[in-house]
Amino acid sequence: MNLNEEVEILKGVPLFAKMEPAKLKLLAFTGERMTFNSDQEVCHQGDPGDAMYVILGGIADVLIDTPTGQLRVAQLKKNGFFGETAILCDAPRNATIKASESLLTLRINKDMFYRLVSEFPSMAIEMMRELAHRVEDTNQKLREATANKAA
């Protein structure tokens, strides 16, 4: 896959939707493409985080450790991203991400990420929107869970 094709994919990622094509190209050029085979772990829960990933192709499972073993809580598809929490608040990875089929990602390391966010506020807003969605989603689930427990 060459750079221009990658830029085309990045254009479809909501996170980068409002970025100029030239900057997208810079992102594609400087970011690292990582291919993961099916069942290969991208990151492991509890490990320190040093990069975020944008999925350019394939599907990844989000797994969380429970006393009874790993539990799949979500799936991420093309245009999805993950790993931003660990680099935003220096926390360990809060989930294990595993490729469920051949997975192509754009890996953006910590320094690069901060540089992008400060240079492209639109990216920050997009990320906030996504995070807010996730919080809302979690709250929803929590409400349901409490309601179920009460019932």
């Binding site: 750079l3 221009n4 050029f29 400087t30 690292e32 493409r33 990582m34 991208v42």
Partner: protein, 903 residues
């Protein structure tokens, strides 16, 4: 050391000085001859004065006239023969030539001897100064700057060498000349000679006085230059601090101030020097003035004839030059004397170590005693604050003891005392009744170990650093062939003449027995063992993979590595590793290699094809031109330039992305942008000649798999492959050695072990390819039992200045390993593990204790909890021992409980 340079010179070079003096006197004869023979040639040979009465005269008649003792007795030694005028002329001309040659030979011989003597003395002096550095008390190094020591030994004593040759000969020689002239004047007229003598006396008193300030300034100049050297070294050492604190301009102010000061001294020096010169000239002309006036008066009044006045004037003409040179010599003498004093003053600090303590052992080194007894030991650096206060302890040298205490408890000072790092101000330390501080250094060096919080590494290989503590004496002499042996022996004889020891650094100094090895063959086993104890083996293994091996020197290893390559490539066929490595294949373009690497398809040796030189190489250019690839590369270069300008234009020049990713540096980008604007899309034909090479170098570092600009399609691959083949096929003879081509069946001595084993490149963007191939490589190497051999290669890694090429923890680990490999009878670990994380600290402690079973360890704990596995514990507070004993006894102590609770 003698304060007086002259007694120093005389003491060590007396015989040589006398020989030279003798030569000088002897040379005068021939010098005189070369002056008198021309007179005979002119008078007798040419004008024929001696041939007026006879056709021939006797020649070479040697008679010894003894008539003074035995009247009338003349002893004829040689009868000689008769010569006519022409023969005489020929013979005397050849005599003249011979005299000139002999005179020249004497001069040469005298000068060589002087030079050799001077250089020998210089060598002796330098060695002696260096020897003193080795005997400085440790505290003195906190006061002197290393750069200043270096300048003193290197530069400041240098002029002494030149002077030493002339120290005695010059005044004798010149004095003799001057004396002759004065005697001649005296014979002409006594009064006149008195006047001349008085005037000379005045000169000799006044001129040195005038030069005195010059000397004082010269001394200041020397001091200020030395300080400048120290200051520059500080800047280099403290460069991080200067940048971190933004103090560069303050440093500039300081250096400017110093340079201004030096300028002032130097300018004053010029002023004073020329004032002295002015008076010197006036005074030296005062004597002829007096001769004219007084001699003229005598001539007019008839007390002296005119011829005598002219004779005195002529004699005087010869006088000033030796006198002037004598004065010069005297000035030089004072100058070097001052230099000498200033240097040696810096080399005699209080408390220098006795040379006996650093003697070379003449056999195996005796063991350390069994019991260290400290009685009332007090250490206080400035005489007030007591870092150790009346410490009394009895420490068997074969037990494991932990020392705990808060900061300022004096535990670290206790550790330093036990390694003789600090002198004690009161009390005594005895080992089996002997004064611990009088123990020869080699006993301590071989039998005791000490590691402090900081480790200094020499800029040599890991291996040499590690074995540093095993080198106390030459164990086996180096093997030389007869010719080299003779050269070496002459070299040592010369060393001894200059008072230098005739040690051979090429000898084998490694004390294998101390390391527990039987000889060079199984030393590696011991090394690997200690590296494991300090958990450094993996790091050295990685360094080994990045190291190179010369196949000529280690054919066995090269062959095994080749085997590993085959084994690895066999394993890579496994589907699990599919797509992780792109092997080097002569028939295929490698998308994970740069264009340059693909063209060269080998490892550059030397500068010819290295880096940017490849594009500029004329042979490579011809190859590319013949295949019309130069135009293609130019097109690619243009395309890369356009992309770079597009991508990086908006970024600030100091953005790290430039350095990491851009093909074009931030400084160059505006020029490239300008170039592209001028071209205005006109294509490669319009590129000016001057910019072509620059554009052509751009695609050479282009890696298709990594940069993915889509510049290299299948057709381009084929063309580059053709160029690769053409390049290899037509490589001219002189360039054959400049590249080692990739060949699956050949070990490549120019490439790293890792590259040799992998024989390919990791494919970009494959997750964890690095780790997975790393693990696979290790498995393969383990199967072939090559793991230790790789470590052996890693041991050759040069650690750089101060060990800076290693990380801080690696340095510290190597420092600990250096102490452990000696298997010391008594090891002091003075908070040496503090730099590691807690778990590593404990693991390394356990390794050390296990390895030192039955031998003594004093563990100065940086955390009290480290004392846990020790049977005996010393608890310290305020420079005193609070309690000491078996753990069970100590546990009742309140301070112990408190320290343990805080841990």
């Amino acid at each position: 050391m003698q304060r007086n340079l002259f007694s120093y010179i005389w003491r060590y070079s007396r015989p040589e000085q006398l020989v030279i003096l003798l030569l000088v006197v002897f040379a005068q004869v021939f010098y005189f001859m070369s002056l008198t023979v021309p007179k005979s040639i002119v008078n007798n040979g040419i004008t024929g004065n001696a041939f007026k009465n006879h056709h021939t005269i006797p020649f070479l008649v040697w008679e010894l006239d003894l008539s003074a003792i035995f009247p009338g007795k003349v002893l004829r030694i040689l009868d000689g023969f008769q010569v006519d005028q022409l023969q005489y002329l020929v013979i005397m001309s050849f005599v003249f030539l011979a005299a000139v040659i002999v005179n020249g030979q004497f001069k040469k011989s005298i000068n060589t001897q002087k030079g050799r003597m001077g250089e020998r003395m210089l060598r002796r002096l330098r060695y002696e100064l260096y020897d003193r550095i080795l005997r400085f008390p440790p505290a003195h190094f906190r006061k002197v700057k290393q750069a200043e020591l270096a300048t003193m030994i290197k530069d400041e004593v240098e002029p002494l060498g030149g002077f030493i040759g002339d120290a005695f000969v010059q005044p004798m020689f010149l004095g003799g000349q001057a004396l002759t002239a004065i005697i001649f004047i005296m014979m002409q007229n006594f009064l006149l000679s008195i006047i001349v003598l008085v005037l000379l006396g005045v000169q000799m008193v006044i001129i040195p006085r005038l030069r005195k300030p010059v000397l004082v300034l010269g001394r200041q100049r020397q001091l200020s230059a030395r300080l400048l050297a120290g200051r520059i070294a500080e800047t280099a050492d403290g460069n991080t601090e200067i940048h971190v604190h933004g103090a560069a301009n303050y440093e500039r102010a300081d250096i400017s101030e110093r340079l201004g000061h030096i300028f002032k001294i130097r300018f004053d020096l010029y002023n004073k020097k020329f004032v002295a010169k002015f008076w010197n000239n006036i005074l030296s002309q005062a004597t002829p003035f007096a001769i004219y006036l007084v001699g003229g008066y005598f001539a007019i009044t008839g007390q002296m004839d005119v011829g005598a006045v002219v004779g005195v004037l002529l004699a005087y003409k010869d006088l000033p030059s030796p006198i002037k040179e004598l004065i010069d010599w005297d000035q030089q003498r004072q100058d070097v004397q001052i230099k000498y004093e200033q240097v040696i003053d810096q080399f005699q600090p209080e408390g220098m170590m006795d040379p006996d303590l650093q003697a070379v052992p003449d056999g195996p080194i005796p063991p350390l005693g069994h019991e260290l007894v400290l009685t009332g030991v007090t250490v206080s650096e400035d005489g007030r604050v007591k870092q150790l206060d009346n410490v009394s302890l009895t420490l068997p040298t074969d037990t494991h003891v932990a020392v705990i205490g808060g900061s300022g408890s004096g535990k670290d000072v206790l550790g330093q005392v036990l390694a003789r790092q600090v002198p004690i101000n009161g009390g005594s330390v005895r080992i089996d009744g002997q004064d611990f501080f009088r123990l020869p250094e080699y006993v301590l060096g071989a039998r005791a170990g000490y590691v402090g919080q900081e480790t200094y590494l020499f800029p040599i290989s890991v291996r040499d650093n590690l074995l540093f503590g095993l080198k106390h004496r030459p164990v086996a002499p180096a093997q030389y062939d007869d010719a080299t042996r003779a050269l070496r022996e002459a070299f040592w004889r010369e060393s001894e003449r200059a008072g230098n020891p005739a040690f051979d650094p090429n000898a084998d100094w490694i004390d294998y027995e101390l390391a527990g090895a039987s000889g060079p063959a199984d030393l590696l086993r011991c090394i690997v063992e200690v590296l494991k104890q300090v958990e450094l083996d993996e790091d050295i293994y990685s360094l080994g993979l990045r190291g190179t091996v010369d196949a000529d020197k280690r054919p066995d290893l090269a062959e095994k590595i080749l085997k590993a390559r085959h084994a690895l490539h066999g394993r890579l066929q496994d589907a699990a590793y599919a797509g992780l490595v792109e092997p080097f294949n002569a028939e295929r373009y490698n998308r994970n290699l740069s264009v340059a690497e693909n063209l060269l398809f080998g490892t550059p040796v030397g500068p010819d094809f290295d880096g940017d030189n490849l594009a500029a190489d004329p042979y490579m250019q011809t190859v590319l031109h013949e295949l019309r690839l130069d135009e293609e590369l130019l097109r690619m270069g243009l395309s890369i330039a356009e992309t770079m300008v597009e991508l990086f234009s908006g970024l600030s020049p100091d953005n790290p992305l430039f350095e990491q990713y851009s093909f074009i540096s931030a400084d160059e980008l505006p020029n490239v942008r300008l170039l592209l604007q001028r071209l205005g899309g006109k294509g490669v034909e319009a590129v000016p000649e001057a910019d072509r090479v620059r554009l052509m170098t751009l695609p050479l570092c282009y890696v298709e798999a990594r940069h993915r600009l889509g510049l290299i399609d299948a057709e381009m691959e084929d063309r580059l492959l053709a160029a690769r083949r053409a390049f290899a096929a037509g490589l001219p003879g002189p360039l054959r050695g400049a590249v080692r081509f990739y060949d699956f069946e050949q070990y490549n001595g120019a490439a790293t072990l890792q590259d040799n084993i992998l024989f390919g490149r990791l494919v970009y963007g494959q997750a964890q390819a690095d780790q997975r191939i790393g693990t696979l490589t290790r498995e393969v190497l383990d199967e072939l039992e090559l793991h230790d051999s790789v470590i052996e290669v890693g041991l050759e890694f040069n650690v750089g200045v101060g060990g800076k090429r290693l990380g801080a923890t690696q340095r510290q680990k190597l420092g600990i390993a250096r102490a452990l490999i000696k298997r010391p009878q008594f090891l002091v670990v003075n908070e040496a593990v503090a730099a590691f994380d807690g778990r590593t600290q404990d693991r390394i402690r356990d390794h050390i204790l296990a390895a030192a079973e039955g031998r003594g360890v004093v563990w100065i704990a940086n955390r009290p909890s480290q004392a846990e596995p020790f049977d005996r514990v010393i608890v310290m507070q305020g420079g005193r021992v609070a309690t000491f004993g078996e753990k069970a006894q100590v546990e009742g102590n309140g301070l112990y409980a408190e320290l343990m609770a805080s841990a």
